[in-house]
Symmetry: C2
Subunit: 256 residues, 2 copies
DNA sequence: CGGCTCATTGACCAACGTCAATGCCGGTGG
DNA sequence: CCACCGGCATTGACGTTGGTCAATGAGCCG
């Protein structure tokens, strides 16, 4: 099914009946491709579709008055870009593709109807926005309270957990298709300093990088170094970062 | 009704029938008082009630490994502390009273039932969590991307808008019962530097402070200075910061 | 009056930003 | 095949923002 990454994500929280899954799949409309750096949705838009990312990485961002860009979230396969639009008026931020992305569009009205008649799906989608919110809180903690190297370490810990939960890790390696400048814009620091942070983490023997692939040498040590605690991800049925079979035998779309 | 502040808040988004309001009021249980600095909910708790703040200010916060406190949200009358618990497992952060607070408890199960049988209330509560999330995004932008004086200015702009929406402002004045240290913990800076920021805003003639009361001399100029745009608050039916009657004649609980 | 909390200020220091130069690598056109 | 270019990573030198420490004062309360 095209919506497998979403199902896999929602099933971290609840189980969905075959019927629920089919209804969701049927609500899906057109599928679109986006190139890196292309905008998926712009601030101020009132999209009439809800967008589901099924391949690639994207981000939420805002441009400040001084021209700075602040990235506020990373979206990976299974993440919904804008459940907001079922309830809020206009987008208060933009969504941009970070790598090549495939996006599936759900007509807003159909999804709203589906949620109204199927409380289980509604709860699952609400749950996903609550987890997004928890992640956002942790990002605020990260930017507000941690020194720069731990900030980077913490983000890497988060992303390997999230990527693992949708089957995008092998051993302790995963693709993180981000430039250092994009990471810098995420953590409120300069690209130059971001580079110095990578230097430190490599010098400490915590990670290696190869193009956009990140290898974590000792996840336990990186977690301790960064003060990471995965509780905020609310992965009720956890999928570890180690290579593993996703429970329920749902192993489609493993690409790396 | 004891839940008036909540009703007033939700009616920014949707109108509720008299029946809806009564059902909500009836779902409310015990009311508790908290002293300043007292914890309402601790990280790791699995509360069996949803907490509604009806008087005073509270905050969401986490304590980091290095002992730093990061405040991630301010809660004012009408805000729900933990709708999360209807769906998530355990609290991933704590809630603390900033001033003397009155809190109304809704048994989790009753509220869950009410939402299940009344989609209008469910939508309204979901909307409120989506707005919380939008505010959180803007806080991340604030901490990540703005220089310290604008950070403070921006927060003041936000809080006078939010306080205005629940009738807690008179002219351009409002109570902000926060110490400079608490503000510093909110914006990821030191208390000393927070003080320097206040100094600057006063020197610029933008604000005056008197105990914990803030007077804004020229809101337009403060907004321009801080790069503030209220769109993210999603106040669909806006209540201005000027003295005004809340629409629908709902003017209870104006205390200041 | 004494003790507390909080605001305020100055002196000094560390973290991080800015600027600029260099190198690497993949793509592209001749 | 090679020269050139653009995007990105890397590094050093230097400047600025904001942190730390410590002292002082103002207001409140028993």
């Amino acid at each position: 099914m095209r919506i497998s990454p979403l199902i896999r994500k929602l099933e971290q929280f609840t189980s969905l009946s075959e019927n629920d899954k089919l209804r969701l799949e049927c609500a899906a409309g057109e599928q679109l491709d986006y190139a890196p750096k292309q905008d998926v949705i712009c601030q101020g838009d009132r999209p009439d579709h809800v967008h589901l990312l099924i391949e690639g990485w994207a981000c939420r961002y805002k441009i400040l008055h001084n021209g700075n860009r602040q990235i506020m979230a990373y979206l990976i396969p299974g993440d919904l870009c804008d459940v907001h639009v079922t309830l809020l008026d206009a987008m208060d931020h933009s969504i941009g593709a970070l790598s090549a992305c495939k996006i599936l569009m759900f007509p807003k009205a159909d999804l709203a109807d589906l949620m109204l008649e199927n409380p289980q799906i509604l709860r699952a989608l609400w749950w996903s926005t609550l987890v997004d919110e928890a992640i956002l809180r942790e990002w605020l903690v990260n930017v507000g309270g941690r020194p720069s190297e731990k900030r980077l370490g913490h983000l890497i810990c988060e992303m390997i957990h999230r990527a693992g939960a949708v089957g995008l890790t092998t051993d302790n390696t995963f693709e993180m298709p981000l430039t250092q400048e994009e990471l810098a814009d995420t953590m409120g620091m300069s690209a130059v300093h971001m580079n110095r942070c990578f230097h430190t983490l490599r010098a400490e023997g915590l990670i290696s990088t190869d193009a956009r692939r990140i290898l974590i040498h000792d996840l336990e040590r990186l977690i301790a170094f960064s003060g990471f605690d995965p509780a905020y991800l609310h992965q009720v049925r956890v999928v570890s970062a180690q290579p593993t079979h996703t429970q329920m035998g749902n192993v489609r779309n493993r690409q790396y």
